[in-house]
């Protein structure tokens, strides 16, 4: 059987690595891979209606060059887009990030079929994930499973908006930019921020304090 895979990663070497690894699959699938090295390429492939059922699987990296014209900044945004335009395509996210918020957000928003932290898995695990996902199962690496247990998220203290704000803050954006990116008002961001501070128990701290606290907690 031929498995058509869209491989999105800014490192060509990585894509080569995926291909090389997948060629070793035990069920002898034939791999047909198409590469996209940034958000724009990926976007064009995804939204193309001709491709609506062109891929069985997407290998999606988190940090890739953005495509701000269509407000696509990372793998997460692409994931949402894929779910919308390619509903039958399975998604395996491969990321170097291992912070709880991103992982949690990704899981919440995209519910990827596979989620692997790059430095966290050994090459055979990639094959395991590939096979399991194709078989309709999910495959998350252990660190992901651990991070997803974070009570702040599971108990709903920090909702998706809060988490997104935190992510954007961590990336160094100002309130104004964050508001623009999230398409909400600045006041909303401010309210959210003070809520987050209360939650983290840092009262009147600055943005830096929020991020420091989040990092200390492993959220970021």
């Amino acid at each position: 059987m031929i498995v058509r895979i869209l491989m999105i990663d800014d490192h060509p070497g990585m894509i080569e690595g995926y291909k090389a690894m997948l060629s070793l699959n035990k069920v002898q699938h034939n791999i047909e891979a198409i590469s996209a090295f940034n958000c724009e390429e990926a976007y064009n492939l995804i939204i193309n209606p001709a491709n609506s059922s062109a891929f069985d699987l997407v290998f999606l990296d988190y940090s890739i060059p953005e495509f701000p014209e269509q407000k696509i900044y990372n793998g997460e945004d692409l994931g949402v887009l894929i779910r919308k335009h390619l509903p039958n395509t399975k998604i395996i996210i491969l990321t170097a990030h291992f912070d709880a918020i991103r992982l949690y957000n990704v899981v919440k928003k995209i519910q990827p079929n596979g989620l692997l932290v790059k430095s966290d898995y050994k090459p055979p695990h990639l094959l395991d994930a590939f096979e399991k996902v194709l078989a309709g199962e999910t495959y998350y690496t252990p660190i992901v499973l651990e991070k997803l247990k974070e009570p702040l998220f599971t108990k709903g203290f920090l909702d998706s908006l809060d988490r997104e704000i935190l992510v954007l803050l961590a990336e160094g954006f100002q309130i104004k930019t964050i508001a623009t990116k999230m398409i909400v008002s600045e006041d909303t961001i401010k309210k959210r921020k003070s809520k987050i501070k209360d939650l983290l128990g840092i009262g009147k701290g600055s943005d830096e304090d929020i991020l420091r606290e989040c990092r200390a907690l492993g959220l970021l």
Binding site: D9, D10, H11, G13, M14, E16, G17, Y18, A20, M21, S23, L24, D61, S63, A96, H97, F98, K118, S119, D120, K122, P123, P124, L126, A170, G172, E208, D209, L211, R212, R215, A216
Partner: protein, 682 residues
């Protein structure tokens, strides 16, 4: 022929003292006049004095007491009243007014001075010391003229007129008496008016203006009735009649003379009450009768001669003898006439009654036709010498007047100079004070300005300090930011780049090895795992780099640490910094922080340059909740703090601490290191 002048100086005195009961007759004696009643009145006064002698001791005591009192106008009045209680020719009277003059001069009481001078003049006038009298009266006049209301001026002028009359200066005597009269009339002082009338009339007689003189005598005669005289008003009046009679006699109107003198005599029983007045009037009457051809005059003349002899009245004796001589001359009995006349001449000459002597000499010429030359020569001689004396006296008076003027002028000049001096002193002191005030104000203003400027400077300095601190913080932040950006870049590079590539390498390698069936070979798999470990390590590093982005060195302690690090980097000194977390640096004024920073910098420089230390300890802690305590100690070679030449560095530190109201303490011993202890309130 003698004049009888009955002058009542007490008229003036009653003007001052109303309660004075004993009016004093003042009798004038002078070269050509003799006042006969003097003897009588003197004897009367003697009786008075005896009565008063008991009183006198207590009066003396009063004077002593008053002298002890503080001299003012009240004391002056008391003294004056006391003086009037003494007899007019008592020495105490003189002493009291001399004292009044002296004290009034001291307190510059011009009225008192005038009063004293007037009374002194009158005193000397009564004592027949005309020069002194004239001196004091002139002085009184000058003083009076400088005052409002011209006090005593009437009395002064009247007395002066009397004096001038005595000196036979009739013209001036008349004009002065007229001046006094005007004042007396203005002041409605009847006693003074009367006195003036008589003086004027007497002067006019002297000027041979008999008709005018008669007019004034008439006025005087009428005035007597309106004057309050307690003693012998009739004798006074009679004397005026006698004056009139004498004038008519001079004009050879002997009938009129007889009428007036007889009226005078009829006024009272003078033979009993006033023998002197009786003698005068009798002489006048008899002379008129004799001139009218009545021979009964001889007995009258002889009677008065007897009376004169018995009461030892030289003027009466001279008059009677002269009249007798003239009588016998008319009877051609030149021998008897010569006897009387020579006798009278001797008497007159002896008693300096020269006017009478002149008249006698004239009669002697008639009595001795053969020896006319002798008597006429003597007459001329006497007349000339008399005129010389008069002239000399007038000159003397003029001199006295001039000297008084001069003394007054000198006094005025001195007082003017004093005034000028006083004014100058005033002006100088006022100017001095003003300039002092101006200088003081100027200095105050200047110091105020200086203070304000100092304050402004301090404010500016504080601002500058804060600006410096802000700059330092900014710089620190910029540096931190730069570092952070770089860290972030490295973190991202490691995370996304290096790590991703390593992952890719690892996957590719695994695949390649797998294809070559080498994957079972542990040598390879181990290396692949090793690569994964590297990845994880990089991941951690990247994360940590990112986490420490805001470790926040951009605060005071950061700056301080930076300071230490800089030195640490290029020296062999090891620093230990302990900062108490209790210190909330955000609450501390930036100005304090910058000063503290400079102090630390200074201290560190000293340590680096001189201390030769290996370890330096810095502790900063909170004490008493509002003070920071900073201790900088080293284990260097130390120094002798007793050495005078403490470096600029330490002085700078001290100055800064003083600026911050803090305490500075430095301890050091040779080879024992140095410890600087600072306490700064905030």
């Amino acid at each position: 022929m003698s004049y009888l002048i009955l002058k009542r100086k007490s008229l003036f005195l009653t003007f001052y003292i109303k309660n004075k009961t004993v009016t004093k007759h003042i009798l004038k004696k002078n070269i050509i006049t003799f006042i006969i009643s003097a003897i009588l009145l003197l004897s009367c006064n003697k009786k008075d004095n005896e009565k008063n002698s008991v009183n006198e001791k207590s009066l003396d005591q009063t004077f002593v007491d008053l002298k002890l009192k503080k001299y003012d106008t009240l004391t002056r009045k008391e003294l004056k009243n006391l003086a009037y209680k003494f007899d007019y020719n008592n020495k105490k009277y003189l002493q009291i007014f001399e004292y009044i003059y002296e004290q009034s001069d001291k307190i510059d009481d011009t009225f008192g001075k005038t009063e004293a001078n007037t009374n002194l003049g009158i005193y000397y006038f009564n004592k027949f010391q005309n020069d002194s009298a004239y001196y004091f009266l002139s002085r009184a006049e000058k003083l009076s003229k400088n005052q409002k209301g011209l006090p005593f001026i009437g009395s002064i002028l009247e007395s002066k007129a009397d004096l001038l009359w005595c000196q036979k200066n009739f013209t001036e005597a008349e004009s002065t008496a007229i001046k006094a009269l005007r004042i007396a009339i203005k002041k409605k002082n009847n006693e003074l008016i009367l006195s003036c009338y008589i003086t004027i009339a007497n002067s006019l007689v002297g000027l041979n203006k008999y008709n005018k003189a008669l007019g004034y005598y008439q006025k005087a005669k009428e005035k007597v009735d309106y004057v309050n005289l307690t003693v012998n008003k009739l004798a006074y009046k009679a004397s005026i009649y006698n004056y009139i009679a004498l004038i008519y006699q001079k004009q050879n109107e002997h009938k009129k003379s007889l009428i007036y003198s007889e009226i005078g005599l009829s006024l009272d029983n003078f033979k009993k009450n006033d023998i002197v007045m009786y003698s005068y009037l009798t002489n006048t009457i008899s002379y008129s009768k004799f001139k009218l051809g009545d021979k009964s005059s001889l007995n009258q003349f002889k009677e008065t001669l007897k009376i004169g002899d018995s009461i030892k009245s030289i003027p009466i004796l001279i008059t009677s003898k002269t009249y007798l001589g003239e009588y016998y001359l008319s009877q051609k009995d030149t021998l008897t006439a010569n006897t009387y006349l020579k006798n009278a001449q001797k008497l007159a000459h002896k008693n300096n009654i020269f006017e009478d002597e002149l008249k006698i000499l004239k009669l002697l010429q008639l009595a001795n036709p053969k020896r006319t030359n002798l008597f006429s020569n003597r007459y001329i001689q006497l007349n000339d010498s008399l005129q010389d004396v008069e002239r000399a006296t007038r000159d003397k008076f003029a001199r006295i007047e001039f000297e008084t003027d001069e003394i007054t002028n000198q006094k005025e000049i001195v007082s003017k100079e004093n005034n000028l001096l006083n004014k100058r002193i005033w002006i100088i002191s006022v100017f001095g004070l003003l300039s002092l005030l101006v200088i003081v104000l100027w200095f105050m203003n200047k110091s105020q300005k200086a203070k304000t400027r100092e304050l402004l400077l301090k404010q500016e300095q504080q601002k500058a300090n804060e600006a410096i601190y802000q700059l330092m913080i900014d710089q620190q932040q910029q540096m931190e930011e730069g570092k952070n950006i770089e860290k972030q870049r490295i973190s991202l590079e490691l995370h996304d780049g290096v790590m991703g590539k390593l992952s890719a390498v690892r996957l590719n390698l695994y695949a390649a090895l797998y294809k070559e069936n080498l994957i079972e070979n542990e040598v390879f798999t181990k290396q692949i795992d090793e690569i994964q470990e590297v990845e994880k390590e990089i991941r951690t590093i990247a994360h940590d780099l990112n986490s420490n982005l805001f470790s926040d060195n951009a605060n005071f302690i950061g700056i301080v640490k930076e300071l230490f690090t800089k030195i640490e980097n290029h020296s062999q000194i090891y620093f230990t910094i302990q900062v108490s977390e209790a210190v909330n640096w955000d609450l501390i004024n930036n100005s304090i922080k910058i000063n503290l920073y400079r102090i630390l910098q200074e201290a560190l420089q000293n340590i680096e340059k001189y201390a030769n230390a290996k370890n330096v300890f810095l502790t900063m802690s909170l004490i008493e909740n509002n003070k920071i305590n900073i201790v900088i100690s080293d284990d260097g070679i130390g120094f002798d703090i007793n050495k005078k030449s403490i470096g600029i560095g330490i002085n700078n530190m001290k100055a800064r601490i003083v600026e911050l109201n803090g305490k500075f303490n430095i301890q050091s011993e040779l080879n024992q290191g140095t410890e600087i202890n600072l306490t700064i309130p905030f």
